[in-house]
């Protein structure tokens, strides 16, 4: 029984298992230190996860793997060009860019959604070709309209003739690392203000609509917030929080202690409210936390942990998007999206506006993709005007698929696992190729082959399932009824 379970688990996750082996093998063959691989990997996770997570909503809404995120990336790049031109810098510049790219992405997402509604069932190939087509428009805009139609006087950004934008734009003095390096202290401070603002607005809205306000609960939360905020004024805490990146070791320690404290609080709450306490799960969580903490004392792991630094706000953004994806699916809109994704006929019969739901899903995805591209570019620091967006779709989709997602099903977990595996391979494949064959290109070829291969495989399996399924069902139906009658 258990053997069967293991076999079926391995079979269902065959893509993930395959890539785990490839990554381990590649890492060993590359002969690189863990310090290098892990720090490089964490940088890439921070850079790419947001884009990959932006793909989940369309998958759930039945639009398949959204190759159209390229268009979101373009919206971000147009916004970046203008904010760079106007000379905005730092995290303020970053936020302004995000603000500017959002309406553009909403508009583009609406158009793409409209188009996809006219080609139901062929969204993926449509998105892919649309990506190439819009690349042409994008080039027209950057090569001719900027400078040619819209006068732009900026010798740093423009080609010497004054018409068309230069090949690369350096973001070093503007928004490079603007999101990555926001100190934790600032984050907590802003978090505090926002939380207070939300509470006030909530209370005001409720009052305005003459609904009951739970004053006791509001007061307790407010006190809690103030206490947390006050803690940051302790000198030791303040010093720890004011660094602009978080050491991986500290992050792991915080997570372990956080888990323990959280479980204790939950235990106390459950006892106080006399509700069921999920004992086994809680104990398992505590054991995992303790074991992970113990592992940090292993010298090899300790070395890596001390070396690697995390961009805090970027990771918080990724976590927030994971949370958003989950929360959205629990809303009326999210349920409509899932219904539309599972069956448009049923959704229609249930009175759901299928086309509108699909367009909203596309708008969400496009906007998220544009923010994802901003996070990517602020981390990379240079912006290749005509190339930065071209691979966005393929790489994000390959990551998602490597994580075990399919055309109809994708989760946050799959996205994160996919990013880790895909980018591990990204880092080690060329190096492994160099070590094994004396030529980095062979590893590079292998990586490209694998990343496109896995997309092709996913699409082929999707098509195959579609063909095979109805046949099997027909057979089952024909076979089932006589058997059912014979049983009587």
């Amino acid at each position: 029984m258990t053997k069967n379970k293991i076999t079926s688990f391995l079979f269902e996750n065959k893509v993930v298992v395959l890539f785990v082996f490839l990554c381990i093998g590649g890492t060993i063959a590359s002969g690189q230190s863990m310090n290098f691989v892990v720090s490089e990997l964490l940088t890439r996770i921070a850079r790419n996860s947001f884009l990959v997570l932006a793909l989940i909503i369309p998958v759930l809404a039945g639009l398949g793997l959204n190759f159209g995120i390229v268009i979101g990336a373009m919206a971000a790049q147009i916004a970046i060009f203008f904010t760079t031109h106007w000379g905005f810098t730092g995290v303020g510049g970053f936020l302004l860019t995000a603000l500017l790219s959002t309406p553009l992405a909403v508009f583009f997402g609406y158009l793409v959604g409209k188009l996809f509604n006219n080609m139901k069932g062929a969204e993926m190939i449509g998105g892919l070709v649309l990506g190439y087509f819009t690349d042409g428009l994008y080039q027209l805009f950057f090569l001719f309209i900027l400078g040619g139609v819209i006068p732009i006087d900026n010798p740093k950004l423009m080609i010497s003739t004054g018409v068309g934008v230069k090949n690369t734009i350096d973001l070093k003095d503007t928004i490079k690392y603007s999101l990555d390096t926001v100190p934790m202290l600032t984050i907590i401070e802003f978090g505090f203000y926002i939380a207070v603002a939300v509470m006030v607005i909530s209370a005001v809205v409720k009052l305005a609509k003459k609904q009951e306000v739970n004053w006791k609960r509001t007061a307790v939360s407010l006190v809690g917030l103030v206490v947390v905020y006050a803690l940051t004024f302790l000198p030791a805490v303040e010093q720890f929080l004011s660094s602009d990146r978080l050491r991986l070791l500290n992050a792991v320690e915080l997570a372990c202690f956080g888990t323990l404290i959280w479980q204790a609080v939950k235990f106390a709450l459950c006892k106080a409210r006399k509700t069921d306490w999920p004992r086994n799960r809680a104990i398992a969580a505590c054991i995992v936390a303790v074991v992970v903490y113990a592992l940090t004392y292993v010298p090899a792991i300790y070395n890596v942990m001390v070396y690697v630094q995390l961009p805090v706000l970027t990771y918080l953004c990724i976590a927030a998007l994971c949370f958003f994806n989950t929360a959205l699916m629990k809303t009326r809109l999210g349920q409509n999206m899932r219904t539309v994704g599972q069956s448009r006929v049923v959704a229609n019969a249930a009175g759901i506006n299928v086309d509108r739901t699909r367009i909203i899903a596309m708008i969400f995805s496009t906007v998220l993709a544009s923010w994802g591209q901003l996070i990517f570019l602020q981390n990379v620091g240079t912006f290749s005007t005509y190339g930065a967006h071209t691979q966005v779709g393929q790489f994000a989709i390959a990551s998602l698929v490597v994580g075990g997602a399919s055309v109809q099903k994708a989760t946050n977990k799959q996205a994160i696992i996919g990013v880790i595996l895909f980018h591990t391979l990204f880092i080690v494949a060329p190096l492994a190729g160099k070590e094994l064959f004396g030529n980095a290109m062979i590893g590079e070829y292998f990586r490209v082959f694998v990343s496109y291969g896995v997309i092709a495989m996913s699409l082929a399996m999707h098509a195959w399932k579609k063909v095979v399924k109805p046949k099997l069902e027909a057979n089952a139906a024909a076979g089932a009824s006589p058997a059912g009658e014979a049983a009587q």
């Binding site: 809205v205 809303t331 009326r332 409509n336 599972q342 009175g351 069902e473 139906a477 024909a478 009824s481």
Partner: protein, 537 residues
């Protein structure tokens, strides 16, 4: 039950589709808490009537309809499905409108989820409200309890037995607040007998709570068992509204079929055939075909050499599965003998090699190469199967254009195919002429046994007559065994020697063309075997 109160009253409903009258003044009235059967053959207008009741776009996109609808004594206009829903009219669909990947609760509540407001929804509208899964599960449990289905409301629909799905579908309709009238569209068609019996029980339970039910079915025995009253339609005309209590099965069957047998074919040809009972052309033993929507579930049949044999039955009962299965177009099991030789059903083209030809009911899909010329269409099967129309040059064989041309010209003349010439693309021809091309191709194979499936579907009366007469001529003059599969009883009865009626994938009985309408009606409604079986002709 208050006999003067009607929950639904449709009067004098007339509907035309581009000049073609499909409903000619139909009445339908249902009391509250009554199970009302709506009966009629395929094409009698039942679905059109229901489409009108539900305000389907197909009705209003084609010019609307005449007549009036009253719900609970109030005159109403139903122009969208949503309106019908608001008036408390629900439908249990024949093909399930369920999502396999959702739980029972989610399926029951689809589109009508219960949610509670959040801060975001107060700012951005109702669509951002959070779903309340506890409340939804409670409602689902209640609906499931009403119809007596014991199933965990949190389990996925995927993998459940078909019977359960039907019940979940019903539970969803019951759950709608203010439901007054439920339409069941052939609900028992996909169920096993025990499941069907449970469904009928559930229908009684629902009706006892004051909800009226319109029960569309072909199965007379079920109607007799569960319904209180019935409306019978025939060819778009209102035949009768009857109380079940005072009527017999035979009477109802007669009302459903009830039409004179008009001879479609002139009997001018001499009939000097000698048909022997033990000289068999086709013999089927426990024959099963997995054709979606037309599954055959174990048929034994003996077709004699030289006869015209009809196979009839309602749509979806499996009559089309028989020829398609024999030709190997769908996976089939059981034993098939052609002139005593057993076919290997796993091998495609086996039937063709035994000189069996088939004219498919799916002319444009299976029957013809639409973009190719008439000539190509006529000769290509024979070229593939019999190596006809090929000239041998050493090792290779090349297309013999002259022979093909001459033969095609002859077939065009013989069958009176109206075309601009044999090079015309088959897809450009009218339905009747396309059918003749299909027939010509089958004949080019020089078959001993010819299966013709729905030969007159979608063709006009003149062409119909010609096709049928030609089939008779082939049979009389060349001694070909012709098996004609058709939904139109009239044409089967006008040319066949014997007619097998297929019901629910099985042979109901074999009738003679001059048997009474009542017997045909009973056989087609699946009530035949329950009446003690019939004498085989």
């Amino acid at each position: 039950m208050d006999p003067t109160r009607y929950i639904l009253k449709m009067e004098n409903i007339v509907k035309e589709y581009s000049g073609n009258r499909v409903l000619k003044g139909v009445n339908l009235s249902v009391h509250p808490g009554e199970i009302h059967a709506l009966m009629g053959e395929n094409g009698a207008g039942k679905s059109t009537l229901m489409n009108i009741l539900f305000g389907m776009p197909v009705i209003h996109g084609t010019g609307g309809f005449e007549g009036s609808i009253e719900v609970d004594g109030q005159k109403v206009t139903i122009d969208t499905p949503l309106k019908a829903m608001e008036l408390g009219i629900g439908m249990v669909h024949q093909e399930f409108m369920l999502i396999p990947g959702f739980t029972v609760t989610e399926n029951i509540k689809v589109g009508r989820e219960i949610s509670h407001p959040t801060l975001l929804s107060r700012l951005a509208g109702r669509s951002m409200e959070l779903l309340d899964f506890d409340m939804m599960a409670r409602d689902a449990r209640k609906a499931l309890k009403t119809i007596g289905l014991k199933v965990d409301e949190n389990s996925l629909v995927k993998g459940m037995p078909v019977g359960y799905m039907q019940f979940i579908e019903i539970a969803r309709e019951i759950d709608k607040t203010g439901i007054q009238l439920l339409v069941f569209d052939e609900p028992t068609a996909v169920l096993t007998e025990s499941e069907a019996a449970r469904l009928l029980d559930a229908m009684r339970t629902i009706a006892s709570q004051g909800i009226a039910i319109i029960f569309i079915t072909h199965r007379l025995d079920e109607v007799m068992e569960v319904a209180d009253s019935m409306t019978i339609l025939r060819d778009g005309e209102f035949v009768a509204r009857k109380e079940i209590a005072g009527s017999s099965v035979v009477e109802i069957a007669e009302l459903m079929i009830g039409r004179k047998v008009e001879k479609l074919v002139d009997d001018t040809l001499e009939d000097n055939r000698i048909i022997k009972e033990d000289d068999l052309a086709v013999r089927l033993r426990n024959f099963q075909v997995a054709m979606p929507g037309e599954a055959v579930k174990g048929v034994d049949l003996e077709i004699r050499k030289g006869e015209i044999f009809g196979i009839g039955g309602l749509a979806g009962q499996g009559k089309l599965g028989i020829p398609n299965g024999i030709m190997g177009l769908y996976p089939a099991e059981g034993e098939v003998q052609i002139f005593g030789e057993t076919l290997n059903l796993k091998r495609l083209g086996e039937a063709l090699n035994h000189r069996v030809a088939f004219v498919s009911e799916d002319r444009r899909g299976v029957g013809l190469l639409l973009e190719e010329s008439i000539e190509q269409n006529i000769v290509f099967s024979a070229m593939q199967v019999n190596n006809k129309f090929l000239k041998k040059y050493g090792w290779f064989r090349l297309y013999d254009a002259k022979q093909a041309h001459d033969w095609s010209e002859e077939m065009v003349k013989r069958l009176d195919i109206r075309c601009t010439g044999i090079k015309q693309a088959a897809g450009r021809l009218s339905g009747g002429n396309q059918q003749k091309v299909c027939l010509a191709r089958a004949l080019t194979l020089g078959p001993d046994v010819l299966f013709v499936s729905e030969p007159t579907r979608g063709i006009d009366i003149g062409a119909k007559k010609l096709v049928l007469e030609y089939l008779v001529k082939l049979n009389r003059e060349e001694g070909m065994t012709v098996i004609i599969v058709s939904s139109e009883l009239v044409e089967l009865r006008s040319i066949s020697d014997r007619i097998a009626i297929i019901s629910d994938g099985k042979l109901a009985c074999i009738l003679k063309p001059d048997d009474s309408d009542a017997e045909y009606g009973l056989a087609m409604s699946g009530a035949y075997k329950k009446k003690g079986g019939g004498e085989h002709a």
